[in-house]
């Protein structure tokens, strides 16, 4: 009894500790409210900027949306003189170059990721991954420079003659090759997106629990079998996420593609023909667009690009979240 009274001595029996409770003015002096408000304003301005961006794209493309409606996406004429605009040519170019990029980058990137996660010792793996991630820091205009002066000569001297000899009967490899083409753009894109696939897939593979591997090894499987049948299926969502992220980047990529695709508004089956993409037409024609309808059609192309990359990024996020590995950040 005596001990309990001494223990509570000096403390307000009501449980209130007045000296530790600041009034609003005191808190203001201490700076909590101010700091909260300033940082809140910064956070809010991020939302404001994004909202402004969406609003600008939407309101800036009013004319073509009213004039063409959905036909904008199904017609391929792009004629500033008769004021007739359709996006099909550019959508085709964007989808085709990104598809070529993925066809090359996915096996290459996944193979590299498997090597780095499953085979290479940790130190070597980390060093190689760092070098591959440096590739992602190379600006796209430099990829374009390499594309024009290095890649196109290599393609036209060595790769395309072999392709044409082996697969020339296919319509996708028919016709002459002038260097600038869907194919060149796709190859450059694949080099640009491969670092993303490698670095994210590697992390996803490293996050696969060892019990998965050991269970199958114990059954007498080879290392490859373990990787192919146990590790990859376990990591498939995360890998798909990395591919979607890479796809979003490929779709929005501007400079490197503009420099090697040829910028010819046509739809050709042959991958060796020159073409045009959404981002490239905006980059080339935006400052020269005469007339509101022309300019706003370009803005509508930008809106399309924005919406598509937004949806694909969201899909990637959902896929990686359901993978349930919180270390996987993009």
């Amino acid at each position: 009894m005596g001990t309990s009274t001494t223990a509570t001595q000096g403390i307000d029996p009501g449980g209130q500790i007045p000296s530790f409770k600041y009034t609003w003015v005191e808190r203001l002096k201490k700076g909590d409210e101010v700091t909260h408000l300033i940082t809140l304003a910064a956070a809010f301005s991020i939302i404001l900027i994004t909202a402004l961006l969406v609003w600008q794209l939407w309101s800036g493309s009013k004319l073509p949306r009213h004039a063409f409606g959905w036909h904008f996406f199904t017609t391929s004429s792009w004629d500033p003189i008769s004021r007739d605009f359709g996006a099909l040519t550019f959508i085709y170019g964007t989808v085709l170059t990104s598809a070529i990029g993925l066809v090359i980058a996915v096996p290459l990137g996944l193979g590299a990721a498997i090597f780095l996660a499953e085979l290479a010792p940790r130190k070597i793996s980390d060093t190689l991954t760092f070098l591959i991630e440096l590739l992602a820091a190379v600006p796209s205009v430099i990829y374009g420079l390499i594309g024009i002066f290095v890649l196109i000569p290599i393609l036209s001297n060595f790769v395309v003659p072999v392709l044409k000899k082996a697969l020339g009967f296919l319509p996708i490899f028919s016709g002459p090759f002038y260097g600038v083409s869907y194919f060149s753009a796709g190859v450059i894109l694949s080099l640009m997106i491969v670092p993303f696939i490698v670095s994210i897939s590697r992390e996803v593979l490293l996050a696969v629990p060892n019990s998965q591997r050991e269970a199958m090894l114990a059954l007498g499987a080879t290392k490859w079998d373990v990787t192919w049948r146990a590790v990859l299926p376990y990591a498939r969502r995360g890998i798909a996420g990395s591919i979607f992220l890479a796809l979003a980047r490929a779709l929005g990529e501007t400079m490197a593609v503009t420099m090697v695709i040829g910028n010819v508004a046509q739809i050709k089956v042959s991958l060796l023909a020159p073409g045009y993409t959404i981002a490239a037409v905006i980059a080339n024609e935006f400052t020269e667009a005469t007339g509101d309808l022309y300019l706003q059609s370009l803005i509508e192309l930008g809106l399309v690009l924005f919406l598509v990359t937004m949806i694909i990024n969201a899909l990637a996020r959902v896929l990686m979240l359901t993978m349930g590995s919180h270390e996987v950040s993009e």
């Binding site: 940082t39 956070a43 939302i47 820091a137 205009v141 002066f149 490859w224 690009l305």
Partner: protein, 285 residues
Amino acid sequence: MRRRYPPLTKRITNVVMLSLTGVCAFMTVSVLFFILGYLVYYGGKSLSLSFFTQLPAPVGQTGGGMANAIVGTVKLLALATVIGIPIGGLGGVYLAEFGTGWFSFLVRYTTDLLNGVPSIVMGIFVYGLVVLPMHHFSTLAGGIALGIMMIPIAVRSTEEFLRAVPRSLRESGMALGASKSETIRNVVIPAAINGIVTGIMLDLARVAGETAPLLFTSFGNEFWSKGWLQPTASLPVVIFNYAISPYEDWHRQAWAAGFVLLAGILMVNIFARFALSRREHMVRR
């Protein structure tokens, strides 16, 4: 005879496929060295002192440099830092220290959204926001475009580094009678400042090479840009314009500019790698 398991075909597949993955890794890494090699070879060959000190020479005249583009890029990056870092950094502080509930979810979501915006679309946005009302291209517009592009990474790296500060540090700050904001200012941010600064440098290195948002904001300029409200040359845009030009001499200049730009960007990245190597999770782009 003793049967061996796994069977021969499986063992062959194993060796072949695993070697192929090694080939993939080797090929991917070698792309970096190809790019570096060509830039060092062509760029180094075309680089001279006048590249850093002189204005571009008229077509047909050899020599000349890109002093105006180098200064232009520095000005654009300075402006981008002034615009992007306060918003991004303070936004990151908000998310790490104050944010809870639906609002911080919304902030995170829009930050990711902003991060995914294709750079050419950012150019359209700032064109409508700044260039159209002012009726001309300007350094200011280019800086704003790059600044907005810096925000998402600044938010994410600041938040991540602040969150990495141990709880005990915050508690000891509070226990000494400091208010929450005093603790943040004097304890938490100083503890995380190395990481935050490194994150900002990586962020700068990322936007330093952006070309698409500058095409219709800061545009280009063959001479010195007078003040912040005039169009300015910048290294990435000059590389683009010179590379697609038909002149041999301009191609050489483009290689030299590419070499300078890439050298700067990669140096920052490598430095950041070593600065952060003690941390387990590097902030990713």
